[in-house]
């Protein structure tokens, strides 16, 4: 049984304490880290703890599915975002286009886009921000040929970080949309 211990009872007078040290942790625009993160994502799809659930396939995912073929752009499933940004960057255009075209060609295929944020910000607001990222990617896919009904967008906010660190490299990895095909 976990029991909360009330420790260190601090009585502090905070009179007039509106000025606090403001150290801005370097505005976060680390494209190198984000790009590196994108490179490492490769064929490892996150967000599916029950990966390998066979038989639930939608018909889109066969044994030699292009979805999992490492040489196919469809095996790339993560799109990374800059800090406080919700715009899908041009460098992901080919990746997004290949998924959109796949959905267009396979009208039975369904995907979920899972939006994620870094750890900064409050939990519920980050759920909304992650949703905004997922919605941005969906919008682009629909523009590129996918059908609205094929895509569900959800958000994990900051709740499921792929990297647990408290540094820019971890944050960049966690500002991310993941594309998960139904049945995966």
């Amino acid at each position: 049984m976990r029991k909360l211990l009330f420790a260190a009872f601090v009585v502090a007078a905070l009179a007039g304490c509106s000025s606090t040290p403001t150290q801005d942790p370097a505005p976060v625009e680390d494209r190198a880290a984000a790009a590196a993160g994108a490179g490492t994502s490769g064929a490892t799809t996150s967000g599916t703890t029950g990966a390998g659930v066979a038989g639930a396939a939608t018909g889109a995912a066969g044994a030699r599915s292009p979805l999992t073929d490492p040489s196919s752009p469809l095996s790339k499933r993560s799109v990374y975002f800059d800090y406080d940004q919700y715009v899908v960057k041009d460098e992901y255009r080919a990746l997004v286009d290949s998924h959109a075209k796949y959905l267009q060609a396979n009208r039975n295929a369904r995907i979920t886009i899972q939006g994620n944020t870094d750890e900064r910000g409050t939990r519920e607001y980050n759920i909304a921000l992650g949703q905004k990222r997922a919605d941005a990617l969906k919008k682009l896919m629909v523009l590129l040929g996918a059908s609205e009904s094929q895509i569900e967008t959800v958000s994990f906010g900051k709740e499921k970080p792929r990297r647990e660190g408290h540094d820019e490299a971890s944050w960049a990895e966690n500002r991310r949309d993941d594309i998960v095909y139904a049945g995966e």
Binding site: R2, A15, S18, T22, T48, K160
Partner: protein, 430 residues
């Protein structure tokens, strides 16, 4: 006003002349002085007669409650013999000599049926009058609850405010990859897991009657809102629409919730019955609307929206549908929580990369920052509006902390093993 007068009246014996001189013009300030760091009420809690023969003594719990509130200082009564057990036995001069302004005495006496008679009395040592005397007949399992009740009485008599020592809190723990929704007494005792999951849990919210908790679970690979009964453990899906379902907030009558849904695009506020029926969109905004919090009168709802370009706190009047922006300083003011006294709200501000709690008054629009961060979030206001519990980071781990609504008194609640977050203060019962 009546409340202030009542508060003032009960304070006078304690704070005596210095306060009396300035009281009429600055009644409100008097209460703040009581809460201030240097002006705690010195109180002696005499060990209850007969409590040594029970596994849990009452006086220790009462003393710990009062001390934790930050408004009391415990005075050592060692050496006062014989120890008084009844108010009429208190020789106030003994306690005045130790600096005590008030004295708690009591007794625990076993009854033939196995229950125990707990008596307690509160004496004003300055005025030499009895302020309270009560008798409870309880089972040993109720000792702790009885001690909290006594602490509530003492707190109420000496500060004029309602005590919250008998309330409970909900919070989420994360240990390894295991998440649990816990319920515990307000002092952290008697923790109970009511939900466990290998996927994140967040945003617990008490029903106004304290019988149910709403929360968000990611166990189905997306945020879904559940309501769970504490008595039966049964739970019900309240919102599982296409997209994300989150941020549950109870209406004061406990019949409805506001939730944030994305089913129609964007994160938007919806009103829904507590059984999941009758979903109804509240507003249409081009951006994010989320983190609803009902005003205690149920007439308006606070929420976070980025409709103005940055996330700020807004208020929706449910009768007129008029939306009004409430926060203007800074570019990130989120997580509004209406205080139960109806006077304002607590929120989270990001300033220079730090996340800290502030409280804003509706009437004056004044903001007072309550904490300094760096990563404070998820505020929840105690039912007496005097304390705010919140999540903070310490040594890379999530802890719970509490701050008084005037920012002066702070405490930390540390769990030895788990990461603790998402506190929610339960209601007063009855």
């Amino acid at each position: 006003m009546q409340h202030l007068l009542r508060s003032l009246r009960s304070l006078l014996p304690i704070l005596a002349l210095a306060i009396l001189a300035t009281a009429p013009a600055r009644a409100q300030l008097t209460i703040e002085i009581v809460g201030g760091a240097g002006t705690t009420i010195p109180i002696a809690i005499v060990p209850f007669e007969g409590e040594n023969s029970f596994p849990l003594g009452i006086s220790g719990v009462v003393g710990a409650d009062l001390q934790r509130s930050g408004l009391f200082k415990l005075v050592d009564d060692t050496g006062i013999v014989p120890r008084p057990a009844r108010p009429e036995d208190v020789r106030t001069s003994d306690f005045r000599a130790r600096g005590a302004d008030a004295v708690v005495v009591g007794s625990m006496r076993p009854l033939p049926d196995g229950r125990v008679e707990v008596r307690f009395g509160l004496v004003d040592a300055v005025k030499q009058v009895q302020l309270a005397a009560m008798t409870y007949t309880v089972t040993p399992a109720q000792f702790r609850a009885t001690a909290h009740k006594i602490a509530d009485v003492v707190y109420q008599r000496l500060t004029g405010d309602v005590g919250v020592f008998s309330t409970r809190i909900a919070y989420i723990t994360k240990q390894g990859s295991r998440y649990q929704l816990m319920i515990a007494d307000a002092d952290g005792n008697a923790p109970q897991s009511i939900v466990g999951s290998n996927e994140p849990l967040l945003s617990p919210a008490w029903s106004p009657d304290g019988t149910r908790v709403a929360y968000v679970s990611l166990e189905n690979k997306k945020p879904i809102v559940y309501v769970q009964s504490l008595a039966t453990g049964q739970r019900q899906v309240v919102a599982n629409f296409r997209g994300s379902n989150s941020a549950p907030a109870w209406s004061p009558d406990g019949r409805k919730l506001i939730v944030t849904l994305t089913k129609d695009g964007g994160s938007q506020l919806f009103l829904i019955n507590a059984d999941g029926s009758g979903v109804q969109r509240l507003l249409s905004s081009p951006g994010i609307d989320t983190e609803a919090s009902f005003a205690p009168d149920g007439q308006s709802v606070l929420f976070t929206s980025d409709r103005g370009g940055t996330p700020q706190v807004y208020r929706l009047n449910l009768a007129t549908n008029v939306v009004e922006r409430l926060t203007f300083d800074g570019n990130y003011n989120v997580s509004p929580r209406a205080t139960p006294d109806g006077k304002g709200f607590v929120f989270v501000r990001r300033d220079g990369g730090r996340f800290m709690l502030g409280i804003q008054d509706y009437a004056t629009r004044q903001v007072q920052m309550l904490t300094a961060g760096p990563l404070d979030e998820s505020p929840s206001v105690a039912p007496n509006s005097k304390l705010v519990i919140y999540a903070a980071q310490q040594g890379g781990r999530g802890i719970l902390a509490a701050v008084s609504a005037d920012g002066r008194v702070k405490q930390r609640l540390v769990s030895p093993a788990a990461d603790v977050r998402e506190p929610a203060w339960g209601p007063l019962l009855r």
